[in-house]
């Protein structure tokens, strides 16, 4: 009797432990369908846009317990593109991003707070130019669907946030180029 009772208890415990894990899925961010755009003000006269085309990372998304979801995004600094080779080189130089010293821009989430209507407040550490700071951004779930050919589950999110580049030790030429930088990040991830 004791043996049966013990076995039953262990089975229930195993189900309780495994059940949430079965709901959480790991997705890999698809660089081809992901973009990181940035906007800065030039001489307080206009907005200049640019993009990073190499966005990668992983997303662990739990539909049953969204607050336990995790995301890590890695952007290659050298993938910067402002449609002008000379400007691209300047932004990647030690004057700004210093892409050869700091080849990656990384965001790792520490907390996810569902806000309802597909919106989430994601808090995490942004590492840029060798400096790590905590930021919170609101992300919107764009959608979720199965790929018509492979059947793989796809999920997409988009977020906009701003930061001051001086907070990340990029203080050169503040004035001609704004301190505040706006980021628009949109990514698509496929189930691993």
């Amino acid at each position: 009797m004791t043996f049966h009772r013990t076995a039953r208890t262990l089975s229930v415990l195993a189900l309780l432990l495994l059940a949430p894990a079965a709901m959480a899925a790991t997705y890999t961010i698809d660089p081809v369908h992901s973009s990181a755009l940035f906007k800065a003000k030039h001489f307080s006269a206009s907005h200049v846009y640019g993009a990073f085309w190499d966005v990668s990372g992983t997303l662990t998304y739990d539909t049953a317990d969204e607050a336990s979801s995790k995301i890590e995004i890695v952007i290659t600094a050298a993938s910067l593109d402002t449609n002008n080779e000379r400007r691209d080189g300047h932004i990647q130089s030690p004057d700004f991003l210093d892409a050869k010293q700091f080849p990656e821009i990384r965001f790792t989430s520490s907390a996810v707070e569902p806000l309802g209507d597909g919106e989430y407040a994601i808090t995490g550490e942004l590492t840029l130019h060798g400096v790590t700071r905590e930021i919170t951004a609101t992300a919107v779930k764009v959608g979720q669907a199965a790929h018509p050919r492979s059947g793989k589950q796809l999920i997409g999110f988009e977020t906009r946030f701003t930061f001051n580049r001086s907070d990340f030790d990029m203080e050169f030429m503040i004035g001609p180029l704004s301190d505040e930088i706006e980021i628009i990040l949109s990514f698509e991830a496929g189930a691993a």
């Binding site: 449609n83 080779e85 000379r86 080189g89 300047h90 130089s93 030690p94 004057d95 210093d98 050869k100 010293q101 700091f102 130019h129 060798g130 400096v131 001086s166 030790d169 203080e171 050169f172 030429m173 004035g175 001609p176």
Partner: protein, 332 residues
Amino acid sequence: MILRNVLLPGIVLPAVTTALVLFALRGRSAPRIGTAGLALAAGFLSGFVAISGWPRWPPVEATQRLFFLVALIGLLSWPVARHRVRWSDLAFEIAAVVLLLPMILWALLGHSWALAESFLWLGTLFVVCLAISRALGTAVEDGGARPLPIVVRWTLLGTIAAVLGLSESLRLALLSLALASAVAVIDLLTRRGIVTWRRSDALAAATVISGLLLVGYFYAALSAPVAALLVVALGLTTLSDSRSIVVRLSPLLPALLALGLALATFLRPGDDPYDYYSKTSVPLTSGPAAGSRVPFEAQPQMSGHPEAQRGKTAAVAPYNTRAIKMTAVKPR
């Protein structure tokens, strides 16, 4: 904008700071020994703060580490110059170079470079940086307050600033200008007998120059030939005591060659995507007026263009329509 962003932080502030430190430390009758290095470091560091802001502690970036190393060298140059013992200058220079190299190359050592490659680079650069340090020390000690070595020194420092600016980094150019400004003040005051150069005083300048050239080469766009020519020019400053004017002016030749090469590279036609249009020599027979907007995919001859292949459908405007055949496109 030039006054606020270039002249004030790059020239005026370093010069004023250097002069203030020198006058604060000057002796009553004879020039104080060892103050030049401290004043030079103070001048450069004040320019650094004006240009790049206060560096973070602990430093995360190569020029921030250079800031703290120059501060240390500036503080130590005074006791080293005053309590001179045999080989103290050489030991001081070796220690500075040994600290400088890993500080600047931290991002590459053990990350991008394998172990063997790291040792190869460190060994080579140790010799180069030590040679620069020895040459500049000899130049200030032997050349002293004489006009010709001073002119050569200023031209060399100005050339380094210009070359770094042409290598995609205005910040490095301004930092180099801050150093040149501090050196110029010391040179002017040595001619008035207020201060004297010692070999150890030049170490702060040598460290800044080596550090900025290393950052320019490994992290900016300073090319190997230009960097090599500048190193040769710096090495030739050791001949500042020669009797021949030609020999004393010899550092200027590789320096000006380096500047010319950097300028030629900077002025080369860029990888402008719109250059593609001007290369097509077919005359325009019909189509939209010059300056009107036409999407890529509407132009048959653009199908192989990298921009079209990347799926960029943003309109191109304005562009040189004279060289493009636009028969397939109707004006909107």
